[in-house]
């Protein structure tokens, strides 16, 4: 897996170095402009996406963006319901739930589109012309600097397990709730695949009376206020951003293994504005779009942007062992309800043995 990731990565670096250029396809722009609008179903906060949307509107003033922040489940639910009613309202589904996106793709809800920008996307970030990763974001740790000393911050997974064993931090460690959050579920099950000590971590977390939350934002609120000392397996790109704004908040990553997830975009079949959708996906992957995302603290998977973090500088930041979650069938494993329930049962039982 890690080798695969690295392979895809070097491919990407090569491509970027070769300088794949992309010019607007005037016919597409014209068709998109005559459609006049693009509707996005997404889980990304509008505040976070604003840079991207403004850049798109500035470049294509004739195309209005209807931005629907409906959450990962909302995006999925809308697509399947609207497809059944033949009333598809979304042109682009842009969601951080990589597994739900894969499920939609596997069930035939997406229309293939070979984006001219596809070359910049590493192999792990593509699925059959159906889905494209648009960001690469680390999964990490945030902590309260007033409560956790600089030398106490875990540097590796083993450190984290040891940290959980410290009685001083009993009851003040938090993580994403795999039951209430699709992202939380993805992060934890991905760790299960990628590491050997996941259940040790889960047991230590339960023994430490850890608390779970349904969103990174609510976790941040508790860590900033000191209600919790540290939280792990949260969206690290947000952590990096918050650590710059809030002086008592620190962000950390395990140097031996840091998972990376992506916001994934696809064009649903029956999209009301298919050309605008294509143009929007192209723009998201373009240097301009990626720069706008990176400037809003959503690191780019390109390597040629000037502002914010990109694939290389992010890998460096997290200690050199960034392992992107690949868009492939592995993600579908836990879409099976029985396997899902089994994992959740085991997760809940972890501390009780």
């Amino acid at each position: 897996m890690s080798n695969l990731g690295m392979l895809g990565w070097s491919a990407c670096v090569t491509l970027a170095a070769a300088g794949v250029a992309w010019a607007d396809d005037p016919a597409l722009v014209e068709a998109a402009t005559s459609e006049g609008a693009v509707s996005v179903y997404t889980s990304t906060d509008i505040a976070q996406a604003k840079g991207l949307l403004d850049a798109f509107t500035a470049k294509y003033p004739g195309i209005r963006i209807d931005y629907n922040d409906v959450g990962t489940n909302g995006a999925y639910n809308r697509v399947i319901a609207e497809a059944a009613a033949k009333q598809m309202g979304g042109d682009v589904v842009w969601s951080s739930a990589m597994d739900l996106q894969m499920k939609l793709a596997a069930d035939g809800y997406f229309e293939p589109y070979a984006s001219p920008e596809a070359g910049v996307v590493p192999d792990w970030g593509k699925y059959q012309d159906l889905l494209y990763a648009t960001t690469i974001e680390p999964v990490g740790i945030i902590y309260n600097k007033l409560v956790v000393g600089e030398d106490q911050v875990p540097k590796t997974r083993a450190d984290l397990i040891a940290f959980l064993g410290d009685p001083a931090f009993n009851g003040v460690v938090a993580t994403f709730d795999p039951e209430k959050s699709g992202s939380g579920f993805l992060f934890h099950t991905n760790d299960l695949h990628e590491t050997t000590d996941f259940w040790d971590l889960a047991a230590a977390f339960a023994a430490a009376n850890g608390k779970t939350y349904s969103s990174t934002g609510s976790i941040k609120e508790t860590v900033v206020s000191g209600e919790n000392a540290l939280a792990f397996n949260i969206i690290g790109s947000y952590g990096i951003e918050w650590a710059q704004e809030i002086e008592n908040l620190g962000v950390a990553f395990s140097s031996d293994y840091t998972a990376g997830f992506s916001r994934v975009a696809g064009i649903p079949a029956g999209a009301p504005h298919p050309n605008a959708a294509k143009l929007f996906v192209d723009f998201m992957l373009s240097k301009e779009g990626q720069s706008a995302l990176a400037a809003s603290d959503l690191p780019s998977l390109r390597t040629d942007i000037e502002t914010g973090l990109d694939l290389d500088s992010l890998d460096e930041l997290v200690g050199g062992n960034l392992r992107p979650i690949a868009l492939n069938d592995t993600l579908l494993e836990f879409m099976d309800p029985m396997k899902r329930v089994e994992f959740l049962k085991e997760w809940k039982a972890a501390g009780k043995s």
Binding site: S39, S43, T44, D45, I46, A47, K50, D66, Y67, N68, D69, V70, G71, T72, N73, G74, Y76, N77, I80, A81, E82, A84, A85, Q87, G89, D99, L100, K103, N144, L146, V147, D177, E179, K180, S181, G182, F185, K211, Y213, S214, S215, T216, G217, S218, I219, K220, E221, T222, V224, S225, G226, E227, E245, I246, N248, F334, M335, R340, V341, L344
Partner: protein, 588 residues
């Protein structure tokens, strides 16, 4: 949600309605009773209310989303829920929460009603309005506010800890949830009980006083037994509200993983990765089955309430009891403390959070003062739209709702047709369902019913869902106003040859017009505070503040949530001001 259907003035309306019921001689329908009008209106209403209900019941008997080609009839969803240990945990917590909430709200509400109606408590006029404020604040705003003020790192908690070493409370527990719910529902009890107490003659109390009983004995042994039906009624109502409570356990139950039935439904959205509508539908069906008996019982009680109260006799002048200086001080400080806890703490918390970037241990929030969160509201189109939409829905939607409730109210006004029984029951149904699911059902209806499709992405879709959610509350409000028009006025019009339509147009409506304005302001508040109905229904262009807060909670953008909550409080305050100006009957 049931909270929306909580009547304000309807205690009085109920009382009058039941009196009306008793007085009414049995008469057969005569020609010219506007039967066609009544039946058409009630029939239309039945379609609007029953469509989502039927859809949800149908969904509960399928094994897939109803629109999926693979969906077939099955009891598998019932089997899953009824054997899921988390369902029973949620059910147990729900019962504890509802009972706990009632056992706080009922005694306090009754005591408050006693002090305000039966004694010479000072500042009565101001208090009569102030004590109602907690019921106007959206419970989701309330919960965020408490997190900031008395949460584990809240500013009150930390101030307390720095003085006493530790703070003896813990907000994120079932007890914490119960206390928050209990205190914020005191007004719901107060309204009913005070309406009943106001009508009591004071001779029995005076007799007790003369024989030397202290005030609290008079209250417990004389006053309270006389208003027992109202107390039981308020208890049933609050139990029902407790069963439907969503916002408070959603926010306060999360950190420690406490689930109740409504948050269990919400959790089922993510548990399996893909939506399990059939499971959600089953829980809602079970919830309705559990709460409907309460609704039915409540209505039965109402019929007898008046008979009880009449035992005291009528006509005697009400003499208030004297509290004395010490009594005044104790009573006022208890009320003051309660208001502090249930109004100042949450509103203070959310206000502070809206203006700071960081808070908590070791942070002086005043070093982090900022207006940036409000800047976001102006910069981000969907948030700005959310505020504008909420205002449009409250002001214009509220007015349309009053007009529609008035038409329905007239259809049921002195209606002797069987359709009136139907009306009674369809009004109750939405009350027993969580607004979240009503919104989801309407989302489906607007998606799959061809002639509704163009409306889905307009505010009309949200308005119709609000209309149904607010139905029982709004209709009671209107019925309460209509029933006050003495029948002889209408009869006079009829005798001089007016049709029933004409007698409504020229007699009833002009008389109730001031009541309509008040009802409009109160419905406005109900629409402002709603947060659950729009969660699944809103789309780009139809955002509303309450549901934006719930959806922002998924990513946890607390800065923006706090700013939105603050705006929502301002709007509510404006609506309360308007309601007072228009002379809304918050009290009888």
């Amino acid at each position: 949600m049931a909270v929306h259907s909580t009547p304000i003035a309807s205690a009085a309306a109920d009382a009058i309605a039941s009196a009306e019921l008793a007085r009414r001689p049995v008469r057969l329908p005569r020609p010219g009773e506007a039967l066609a009008f009544r039946r058409i209106v009630i029939g239309l209403l039945a379609v609007v209310v029953l469509a989502p209900v039927v859809l949800i019941v149908y969904q509960s008997f399928l094994d897939n989303p109803f629109f999926a080609p693979a969906a077939k009839l099955s009891l598998s969803a019932y089997r899953y829920i009824l054997t899921d240990s988390m369902f029973y945990e949620a059910l147990g917590n729900t019962v504890i929460m509802a009972v706990g909430m009632v056992s706080i709200a009922v005694p306090l509400g009754a005591a408050l009603a006693f002090l305000i109606t039966r004694t010479d408590l000072k500042f009565k006029r101001a208090l009569e309005i102030l004590v109602l404020v907690p019921m106007f604040i959206s419970s989701i705003v309330l919960s965020f506010g408490y997190t900031v003020s008395v949460g584990p790192s809240g500013f009150i908690t930390m101030a307390f800890r720095s003085v006493f070493g530790s703070a003896p409370w813990s907000l994120y527990t079932l007890t914490g949830i119960i206390v928050v719910c209990g205190l914020s529902h005191v007004p719901h009890v107060y309204l009913y009980v005070s309406a009943a107490m106001r009508n009591l003659p004071s001779d029995l109390e005076e007799a007790a006083r003369v024989t030397g009983a202290p005030l609290w004995r008079v209250c417990l042994d004389v006053t309270v037994p006389m208003v027992l039906p109202a107390l039981v009624f308020a208890t049933a109502l609050n139990l029902m509200i407790g069963f439907e409570m969503f916002g408070v356990p959603l926010v306060l139950g999360e950190p420690s993983g406490i689930v109740v039935l409504t948050t269990y439904v919400y959790k089922l959205t993510t548990l399996f990765g893909v939506p399990t509508y059939q499971l959600m539908a089953v829980v809602v069906v079970l919830l309705v089955l559990m709460t409907l008996p309460l609704v039915w019982y409540q209505r039965r009680l109402l019929r007898h309430a008046r008979r009880y109260a009449a035992l005291g006799g009528k006509g005697a002048r009400t003499q208030v009891m004297r509290l004395g200086a010490k009594g005044q001080a104790i009573a006022l400080s208890i009320i003051g403390f309660w208001l502090f806890v249930s109004v100042i703490l949450p509103i203070g918390g959310i206000t502070l959070r809206a203006f700071v970037g960081a808070w908590g241990q070791g942070v002086n929030p005043f070093d982090h003062l900022t207006l940036a969160h409000f800047g976001n509201l102006l910069e981000v189109p969907s948030l700005t739209r959310g505020i504008v939409n909420t205002m449009i829905l409250a002001v214009v939607g509220g007015a349309c709702a009053v007009a529609i409730y008035l038409v329905v109210g007239l259809a049921g006004h002195r209606n002797r047709d069987v359709s009136n029984t139907l009306l009674d029951y369809i009004v109750l149904l939405p009350r027993a369902m969580p607004g979240l699911m009503i919104g989801l059902a309407f989302f489906w209806l607007f998606l799959f019913v061809p002639f509704l499709v163009p409306l889905r992405t307009t505010l009309i879709s949200i308005f119709i869902a609000y209309l149904v959610v607010g139905l029982s509350y709004g209709l009671r409000l209107l019925q309460g106003t209509l029933i006050q028009v003495a029948p002889e006025l209408e009869e006079a019009a009829r005798t001089t040859g007016a049709t029933i339509g004409r007698s409504w147009r020229d007699v009833v409506i002009p008389i109730v017009r001031p009541g309509l304005a008040g009802a409009w302001a109160l419905i406005m508040i109900v629409f402002l505070r709603d947060y659950a109905t729009g969660v699944y229904l809103m789309s780009a262009g139809t955002e509303v503040i309450g549901s934006l807060m719930v959806s922002l909670l998924q990513t946890g953008a607390m800065d923006i949530i706090a700013a939105l909550a603050f705006v929502s409080i301002l709007l509510t305050a404006a609506a309360i001001g308007l309601a007072l100006r228009l002379g809304a009957k918050m009290h009888d």
